[in-house]
Amino acid sequence: MRDIALVAVLFGSLPVILRYPYAGILIWTWISIAVPHMEAWGFSRSIPLNLIIAATTIIAWFASKDRKLPPPHFIYWTFIIFLAWMTFNSFFAFKPSWSWQFWDRSWKTIFLGLFVAAMATNKVRLHALMWVIVISLFYYGVKGGVFTLQTGGHYHVVGPPSSFIEDNNSLALALLMVLPLANYLRLQTRHRWLAIGTLFAMALTVVSVVGSYSRGALLGLVAIAVAGIFRTRHRFLYLALLALVAIPVFNFMPESFHERVQTISDVSTDASFQGRVDAWQVAFYVARDHFPLGVGFYGPQLKEIFNTYLPGVTAHAAHSIYFQVLGEHGFIGLIIYLVLIAGAFVTSARIRKLSRGNPELEWIYQMASMIQISLIAFCVGGAALSLAYYDVFILDVALLMPLLTLARATATAKKKVASGAAASGLIGENPLPA
């Protein structure tokens, strides 16, 4: 039933996409993040829905008057260089047939980000994209929160199969990243009941993050809670709300959860943490021995490589976005990746500076602030998870390009008006005769 509904709705949307290419971007983003076909459990899994939507969008975009290139920003060039380096590196992968399939997924994600950067030319488009990201992940966040409450927190919340967010840790990090974006929408939406509904969904998503039993995500949760203190004007209200959600949730969780949390402070005896350290060591040795290249997408976790460095140890995924890129794409790949992250933080700070104190740009200021917190969650939570090329991270970074362009354009226009008024004597002295 779900399959029929999904396929019918998606194929029915094709004429709309041909008329409005950006509608295709919204649906493409939904399929990439929410992977609805994996939740349909039937024939829709075997249909390349994402490809059909993406191809239709690209055809419509070519034929439309939409902007064809993203703003020529530093982030745009860093994306291009990163993609070029990953592609070049994949030719020298340890097991090319294994690595190319992951390259195939990653280049599409980066291209989606670049399309967004090119086509998100106004407030409505940026706002709509934010909603798509939030709805896509709240589908899992709210469901996971309700599941945790129903089962007393005794079971782990996991994501959809065959997706970036399949395991509990990855899903929890994705949900963490969406919380600040949802908060932006809550602040900006005009309808009070929608804002209240969003706040309620955010609370359930926090329950879902806790119900995932992911320790990395818990650290990320603390990071965004702290970052939020510096980004809010109503600090006492914020802290009170935080306590109102956090204290009951932590008290609600069973003993097994508290035991797991306690292992954060005692990492030396924790097997799971030791597995991560092993994976990080392998990533470093691989990058050192294959300098300047890496061993390709998801190469270091292959038994043949992992056991060359650590014989007899079970092979692990990198369990860190930084070590993942280091092992897969070498030191150069890691440098480009870090430059991309740093560029995103610098750009968001620049947008905030440009739009601060300007009522017309309040939404841009809030969006840049919330994207920054989302990136903080990614950088902190991602330190212990393999989610380096995750869609929401790529979209967060890509959205900063059009946002900066809009902030600059509005700030410049305002300056021109002000300087024009000053030149004509309307500002600074009384223009009226005495």
């Binding site: 509608a23 609805p36 349909a40 106004n122 706002h127 909603w131 896509s136 900006q188 009522p359």
Partner: protein, 57 residues
């Protein structure tokens, strides 16, 4: 219950796409409908001014 939630998520996405289609052509900064954004503080319509004794001056 799961299927209802799945259906609701799908409906939400298509309401959003419809909202985008109807709002994209509006003048920049103007939004209407379910996902409408707040107006900037500067252009927000203000309520009727409160009575003050100064009004009689």
């Amino acid at each position: 219950m799961n299927s209802i939630w799945y259906g609701l998520a799908m409906v939400a996405i298509f309401v959003l796409v419809h909202w985008f289609v109807t709002n994209d052509s509006l003048p920049d900064g103007e939004t209407k409908g379910i996902f409408a954004m707040k107006l900037p503080r500067a252009v927000r319509p203000k309520g009727r001014p409160k009575f003050s004794l100064r009004d009689t001056e």
